[in-house]
Amino acid sequence: MSAVAVKKEVSTTKWTTAFEATTANRLGAANPSVKEVQEKAIQDFASRGIPDKKVEDYKYTNIRLYLNDEFLLKGEVPMLKKSNISRLLIGDYITLVIINGRFVKELSLLEKLPKEITLRNLFTAIKESKVAGISEGKGNPMATLNTALAQDGLFIHVPEGFHCTVPIHLLNVSTGLNKVLYNPRNVIQVEEGANLTLIESFHSFGLEEKVFTNLFTEVEVGKEATLNNYIIQEEETLAGRSNIHQVSVGTAGKFNSVVVSLDGAMVRNDLNVSINGENAEIHMHGLFVVKDGQHIDNHSLVEHNVPNCFSNELYKGVIADGGTGVFNGKIFVKQDAQKTNAYQSNKNILLGDNASMNTKPQLEIYADDVKCSHGTTTGRLDETALFYLRTRGLNETLARKVLLGAFAKEVSDTVKDEAFRLYLEERIHDHIA
């Protein structure tokens, strides 16, 4: 037992040391109240550490095991040029290039950025009091870690009534020569009656060692505002990622989320949506394609705090032999949230005997006048449908691709922006087999 205690003490020291070493660079240096939040967070985190499978929410995703090695908080990073980025551009978007969580203005395409939209480094935004504070992250240990160690990130603000007609694309690249753990924090605010399509793509480039990015994005969708948030993840095997989106939606606000994960050794997505105004409408769609040796986990939480709101969630998984998929979706309906409509579905296809899927749909309802449903199916590709396609001259590989493509299409079809939808379809087509 004493060995365990010693180990724990060592890991605690590791985090507090890292915390102290970065004092001047962390968000806390921009504002005393943020400093307090970070100090509280490091104490909280140091007592718990990186979650292992004993933590219920990480039961099937042992991040501690993955992060067992010594990770630095800063590493040597190769200089990327515009030519390294150009193949990752999608459509004619406002493109913000982010390398290891840090916004790189020189590589970004900002000509189309409307003057109404405020774009800052988060550190600057806090310093200029454009952002009041940062969220603690509701007890999620990875969110707490981010809260403690966050140094910077992006702040995007769309003012009241402004419709941004060109999507904003956050083009994220993980790169580097050392084992590094990054904790970027983004804050996105879409004010009353405003409208934004935010695309986040995740790529990697020239990784020499494992890089883990623990990204925490705070999102506010105001009264009668709309945010379309489309995410594609395609990082190579040395890149690990925890993506936490904490979303708050106001009265009659609309939040449409599509999360497509096509690659990555260890991917954990947390999408937590808190509905705080009546008549809000939430759509959440996800697709994860897991290959041999990969692990992709999607956790979601929808909190219906007020009456008369709608939420619909559909996540679909395709898991190859040797891959592991996880889905955990929770719908929480508070006692006051009468007339809630909340639906959730998770459908998975296993492509081999050694493909693994852990799924846990949860409904927790305290109101009595609601319509809620959830369901999950996990099975194999339909053999009769395969045979049918093959009798029409499609070989086995092609027939499988057609069926899997159709399975995935239900998710990609929900993307409203045409350029991104076409891009997504092409990327999905390349990844499924």
Partner: protein
């Protein structure tokens, strides 16, 4: 065109076809009739190449080539088509897109140039008209939410598009009312040429009023026990399958 010799087929260890012989020449329509459980659908599936069916003896020659080891798609490319008894619904794949893929795969196998988009569309239009299928059906996901008649019509439409040498119709009449049956049969009749052949599998004589066969075979207990001209179908209709069962009592065991 099709020469089946002494074919023995098992499914999950159970012998279904027990030495079946059948020869179909080009330009001919053959009907296979028989009671439930005789092996009719097995015969259809095994010609199309369903992998669960194990050929334990005999051979299937198609234009002189043994196809029993070919995959279902290779057989389709050689010119075999199976119209399913229960056509499959495939959400998310439109009939047009799927046929575009199928046509280009089949053409590539036969060493033909890919079809120009406008030629494909012209062909699509022509065949839709030929088999009287609504364009809004072919633009939708394959068979999704189709009625029984629409599904069968879609099978015939696919057959028209793929222009097979041999079409096997597996109980195409099942679940159809008389009007739907007539439309489907008319489609088939329009596709009959001197160069292709049809194998019409059915339980009832009714379909054969519309698709008139050159030959009728009675399949019973995994073998063809009687062959004749179209009159045999009428005789069967009149006397019922008990007539066959009485004539071949040794097979019941």
């Amino acid at each position: 065109m099709l020469e089946i010799k002494n074919l023995e087929v098992s499914v999950e260890g159970k012998e279904i076809l027990k030495g079946l012989n059948l020869t179909v020449n080009k330009g001919e329509v053959h009907a296979i009739m028989g009671p439930n459980g005789a092996g009719k659908s097995t015969l259809a599936s095994v010609i199309a190449g369903k992998e669960e069916y194990e050929v334990t003896g005999g051979s299937i020659l198609f234009n002189g080539k043994d196809i029993s080891e070919l995959s279902p798609d290779e057989r389709a490319k050689e010119g075999v088509f199976l119209a399913f008894q229960y056509p499959i619904e495939i959400p998310g794949v439109t009939t047009i897109n799927f046929l575009k893929t199928a046509v280009s795969e089949i053409r590539a196998y036969r060493g033909l140039e890919p079809m120009e988009a406008k030629d494909f569309l012209a062909m699509l239009k022509e065949k839709q008209k030929l088999v009287q299928i609504d364009t809004n059906l072919t633009g939708r996901s394959v068979n999704e939410g189709f009625s029984g008649g629409e599904k069968k019509r879609n099978e015939i439409f696919q057959m028209a598009m793929l222009e097979p040498k041999l079409a096997v119709l597996d109980e195409t009449d099942s679940g159809l009312d008389i009007d739907a049956l007539r439309i489907v049969a008319e489609g088939v009749n329009k596709l009959r040429t001197k160069e292709n052949a049809f194998l019409v599998i059915t339980h009832y004589q009714r379909l054969l009023d519309y698709i008139v066969p050159d030959f009728v075979h009675v399949l019973y207990d995994g073998r063809i026990v009687k062959s004749g001209k179209k009159e045999l179908a009428l005789e069967l209709e009149e006397k019922g399958y008990d007539w066959i069962k009485k004539e071949f009592p040794e097979m019941i065991a």
